[in-house]
Each structure stands twice: as C-alpha cells, then as structure tokens.
C-alpha cells in the first residue's frame, strides 16, 4: 500500500563552518504517511527540515522529492518542486507587512490564474479550515501566537500541496488548541492523502498523529531509532530512546 517513497534522504551531512550538526542521515518518507521527527532541543531538527525542503544545501548527500534530486537542481526546477509543498515554520513566517488574506493571496495570485473573487473565496475556505473565520484583515502582529501558527497553516495549504512540513506546530499552544491542530493534521492526511513531515516534542501529539517516528540525537548527530510511537515507548534496548519517549531525565 503506502510503500512508494515520496521523499528520499540519503547520506545527508550538514556542517556549519567546522561544526558538524548532522551526519549520514538516511531515511524515506512514503506517500500518505505522517512521519514525525523528534529529538532534543538543538539536535538539528530544524536544520534537517531546511535541507529536505531545499532551503539550504546539505554539505554532502542527496534529497529527492518525487524522484527529482533537489540538492543539485537549478533554481527553476527547485521552485517547481517547492511549489508542491507547504511549510509551517517554527516561528510561523507570516509576512508581517501583509494581512492574513494578503499572505494567502500572494501565492494564489502568483501561481494560479484564478480571478479575484475566486481567490477571495479560497482565502475564506482556508481560514475557516483552521478556525480563523473573520480574521482575514488582521495583521500577523494583531493575532496571538497560536493563531499565527494556524494562519501559517492556512497559508501553507493555499495551493493544496501534496506534502506538508511542520516545524513544532504545537509548541506554545494550549492542550485544547494543540489537539485541534492534531485533528486537523490527521484529517488532512486521511481526506486528501497528504504526506506530512512533522517536527515535534509533544509526546501526546506524537502518539496521536504519528505513523512512524524518527529520533535524532545530538551526540550521535543522526538517527538513533525509527519505529512507531508505541515501539519507541517500549524500546528497552536503547536507554536514550526509552528515556525520551517515557519522559525520563538523563
């Protein structure tokens, strides 16, 4: 069934000047899967996400999306690949000088031939999907942190991407809002078959949404375990894995 890799990450290494952050990262993401990347603070999750989405070039290694190599693609091809996915950044990344509607409209105006009325309708649909009806004309600075996350999700959904990347969607959200975001992620995945790559610390949310989990470790500079959330929780062989998923301090 869902065994077709849509993202292939192979031997990715990342170095900032002499400082190695990640080494030999290899994994696949399959179509229609929700893959959660977890790991301690500062282990390189956001950095890894930047490599996968082509925002930064890995020092070595390859990233393929839909079979197309992103790492050595020229700008043109890169843009074409990037248009197929949406990203929710750790600090939302909404354009501060534009209203929520303009944030979403920017993509639709630039990459579709829709009329103004159609665009306006789509904005309403996306905003209400994330529970932000009536906030079209607010600036990002006029809404709360949790609302910003949801608005950014609405923007990420603007072009109906087939892959969504999330960097810590539930951080800074209250449990109820976080749970509703989880539901939204699950619904999008189930109804549209969107592939999701989620960076998260939130164990409750991981148990809720993850099909598969990858654990990164700062010392190992790479993946130290892969499996379902349940498997990780019962992993008695590797103390680090067990501690992480059972919330035990080292």
């Amino acid at each position: 069934m869902m065994k077709k890799p849509i993202i292939e990450v192979k031997d990715v290494c990342v170095k900032y000047s002499e400082n190695t952050i990640l080494e030999n990262i290899t994994f696949d993401v399959y179509e229609g899967e929700i893959l959660v990347i977890v790991g301690g603070s500062g282990c390189g999750k956001s950095v890894l996400l930047k490599q996968i989405t082509g925002l930064e070039m890995p020092t070595s290694g390859d990233v393929k999306i839909h079979g197309e190599n992103l790492t050595n693609a020229n700008d043109e091809i890169k843009r074409k690949i990037q248009k197929k996915f949406g990203i929710l950044f750790q600090s939302s990344g909404l354009f501060a000088s534009m209203t929520l509607a303009e944030n979403i409209a920017l993509l639709l105006e630039s990459f579709t031939d829709l009329t103004e009325d159609e665009i306006s309708d789509i904005i309403d649909i996306k905003l209400s999907a994330v529970g932000l009806d009536g906030y079209r004309n607010y600036l990002p600075s006029e809404i709360s942190g949790g609302m910003k996350k949801r608005a950014a999700l609405a923007r990420a959904l603007a072009l109906d991407p087939d892959i969504l990347f999330f960097d810590e969607p539930s951080s800074g959200l209250d449990p109820v809002t976080a749970a509703s975001l989880d539901n939204l992620i699950k619904n999008l995945n189930e109804s549209l078959g969107m592939t999701m790559v989620v960076v998260s610390h939130d164990l409750a949310s991981i148990g809720n949404i993850a099909h598969r989990v990858i654990l990164l470790d700062k010392e190992a500079k790479g993946i130290i375990a892969t499996g379902t959330a349940e498997e990780m929780k019962r992993n008695r062989e590797n103390e680090k894995v067990y501690n992480f998923f059972n919330r035990i301090a080292n």
């Binding site: 925002l55 990037q82 990203i87 950044f89 750790q90 600090s91 990344g93 909404l94 993509l107 990459f111």
Partner: protein, 397 residues
C-alpha cells in the same frame, strides 16, 4: 602550634578589619596542627555578601595542614553566594592540596549545592589563563578573518544582485514593482527635508569659512566658485549618501533582519519566490532612482546656504553670485556628482540588504547588523568617493 599566637592575632585582625568596612557575615577560625576549621555565621546571601577573608586565610595554611573543614551548621539562609563561596574554597583546597570537608550541610542545602554547584571552574580558568597578548592578537586575527569573509560574501552578493537585475530586462515581471513606489517614498521623498536642511547648513558653514579667507585677499567673488564646485562635486553627493545610509541602509538591515529571524525569508523562498527579486531589488532600485534627485535638491540647498553666508559677509549681490556660479560651474561638475550619487545609492542600499540577510539567531543580532550596515555603508562611500576622485581626475572630468 605552628603559628605564633602573635602572628595568628595579626591575621585575625586583618580578616576582621577587612570585614569591618562592610557589615555582614563572618566566620570563626579555629585550628589544630593539621586542620583548619571555619565556622560560618548567618546568612550567606548575595545581598549580604561579604569578603570572607579567603586571601588572608591562605596565609594561615602551611605544609602541615591537610584538612580544610567548613562548618555550615549555623546557616539557615543562603543563596547562590553559598555556591560561590564553596567553589572558592574548593579551588583553594585544590591549589593547596587540602582535603575539603563540608559539615553541617542539611539535605536541602546539599540538593541546592548539587543543582548549582557544577564544576565550571576548569573552563573559567582556561579563559583567564590565556595571556593578554595572546588574546589581543587572536582577536585581531579573528576580526581580520571575519572582515575578509564579509568582503568575499558581499562581492558574491553583488554578483547575484547584478545578474538578477539584468534578468529583469528579459522578465521585468519578476520583480515586485508594487513595492517600488513604497520604497521610493520611504527612502526618497521622506528624506527630502533632512537632506535639504543638512546640505543647506553645510553650504552655509563652508560659505562663512570661505568668505573669511577670500575677503583677506579681496577675492570676494570667488566664493561662488568655491561653494559651487565643492557642493556639486563632493559635499552634496557625499552628505546625501551618508544620510541615506543612516536612514535607509539601517532600515533595510533592520527590516530584512527581522524577516530573517521570524522565518519570513525562508517562507518566501520555500514558496518559490526569489527573495532578491521580491525584497532586495525593489529597495535597491528605489534608492538608486531617488539619489540623483536628492542630490539635485542638495545642490540647490547647498548653493542657497552658501549664498546667504556670502551675501551677509561679503560685498556681493545675489545677481553677482549667481552669475559667477554660472561661469564657474561646468556640466562635468554637476554630472560627476550625479553619477557618483547613483553608485553611492547602490552601495548603501545593497550593504543594508546584505547586512540584513546576515542576521541569524535572535533579535539581538538584528541590532548588531543594523549598526554594521551604517558603519560599513559610510566607510564604503568614502572609499568609493576617493576612487571616484582619482578616476575623474585622470579622465579630466
């Protein structure tokens, strides 16, 4: 007794006198042949911190002494100062090869010591132990390296901007023209009053200074030559560029830096937009476009300021001044100033954008690079001006 009673009382006096200047806690010393016992008194807190006489204590320690015992059984109030104290005592005991012995530590206190009392002293020692000169030279080396890397990165950035700029001739729609009038207003129109005022005053000041000198040799009329040429060739373009560096260069760095910190630039790139076309070019083109107009205005302001100064101090009429100005000024004077201003505008705005994109980490980095944008901007303008002077001279303009 290893130490004579007289010696001991001297040392005790020393400890007590150092303490008497600051009210606070103290400790009692008692010692036997092999052991020094310090009994601390309440409280050991930061706001009540006290010189504990550790330096004086060192004098008490000799080869025979093996144990340093610290008694905390009287202590009920303590905070981080306790950690500081224990770290100091530990270091002391290490350097003197003493066994340190803490007694009267309640379980609560032990937990506190464990929580905060991690050994960081090794690292701190390392930092302190590198000599001043070593630090000094390695600092200079590091600054040079960063400077050179910045230059290299800036040249790469310029290359990218220029190639993207020329690609506009093929695909003009790539740039976000919507932003252009906005930046033109902000960097150009809004700069008019300050540019006018500053260059007007500069013209007036150099008018006064020049008039003083020219009057002595009776060459009053040449004030027009002096003002006209210095303003149009040098002062107007230079002052305008410096003002624009302060207004727009810094603003660009701060705006782009903030966008970088809040992931906006990454978001833009990930949506398939080119941040150079989208954010940088509208700003740079707006400044380059505005600069010659600002400089023309500045020329007018400077000549006007110089005229007011000249008329009020010299035997000169307005018509005489303006007539002389017309004969003195050549097309090349004004033209070279305008050409310079476009290049200055390009440099200032691209440095502002470059510094903004260098921001990484958090908000404090935005401030740092905003400052850098102005400093580098002004420096680069002056260097470029010197180069221009050489070029124009050799071309005879």
């Amino acid at each position: 007794m290893l130490i004579s009673n007289k010696h001991l009382s001297l040392i005790k006096d020393e400890i007590l006198s150092s303490k008497s200047q600051r009210a606070g806690t103290y400790f009692n010393i008692s010692f036997s042949e092999r052991e020094i016992v310090l009994t601390f008194a309440e409280p050991i807190t930061l706001d009540n911190s006290e010189y504990y006489g550790i330096d004086a204590l060192i004098k008490l320690i000799n080869d025979k002494i093996e144990i340093l015992t610290c008694d905390f059984s009287n202590i009920k109030h303590y905070d981080s100062y306790l950690i500081l104290l224990i770290n100091n005592l530990k270091e002391l005991s290490k350097s003197k090869r003493l066994a340190i012995n803490l007694i009267g530590v309640t379980p609560k206190m032990a937990k506190f010591i464990e929580l905060f009392g991690k050994e960081q002293s090794a690292e701190i020692n390392n930092i302190i132990s590198t000599g001043f000169w070593e630090n000094y030279f390695s600092h200079i080396g590091q600054l040079t390296l960063t400077g050179l890397t910045d230059v290299k990165l800036f040249i790469e950035f310029l290359g990218e901007i220029i190639s993207k700029f020329f690609s506009l001739f093929i695909h003009p729609g790539k740039m976000r023209w919507k932003e252009f009038p906005f930046h033109l207003t902000k960097s150009g129109v809004n700069a008019v009053p300050i540019v006018f005022l500053i260059v007007f005053l500069i013209g007036m000041i150099s008018g006064y200074q020049g008039a003083m000198q020219l009057r002595q040799v009776g060459a009053d009329i040449y004030i027009a030559d002096l003002i006209g040429i210095s303003i149009t060739r040098e002062l107007a373009p230079l002052m305008t560029a410096i003002l624009v560096a302060g207004r727009s260069g810094s603003a660009f760095a701060a705006e782009l830096g903030t966008m970088k910190v809040s992931d906006e630039i990454d978001a833009l790139k990930s949506m398939g937009f080119d941040h150079i076309h989208f954010l940088i070019l509208p700003r740079i083109i707006a400044v380059m476009f505005a600069m010659p107009f600002l400089v023309m205005l500045a020329n007018f302001a400077g000549i006007l300021g110089g005229m007011l100064a000249a008329l009020s101090t010299l035997e000169l009429t307005m018509v005489g001044y303006l007539n002389e100005m017309q004969t003195a000024l050549s097309f090349g004077d004004v033209f070279s100033g305008l050409i310079k201003s476009i290049v200055f505008g390009f440099l200032v705005s691209s440095i502002g954008c470059f510094r903004g994109l260098q921001v990484h980490g958090g908000a404090e980095s935005v401030g740092k690079y905003t400052t850098a944008a102005v400093v580098t901007g002004v420096l680069t303008i002056i260097v470029a001006d010197a180069i221009f002077t050489l070029i124009f001279q050799s071309l005879g303009i």
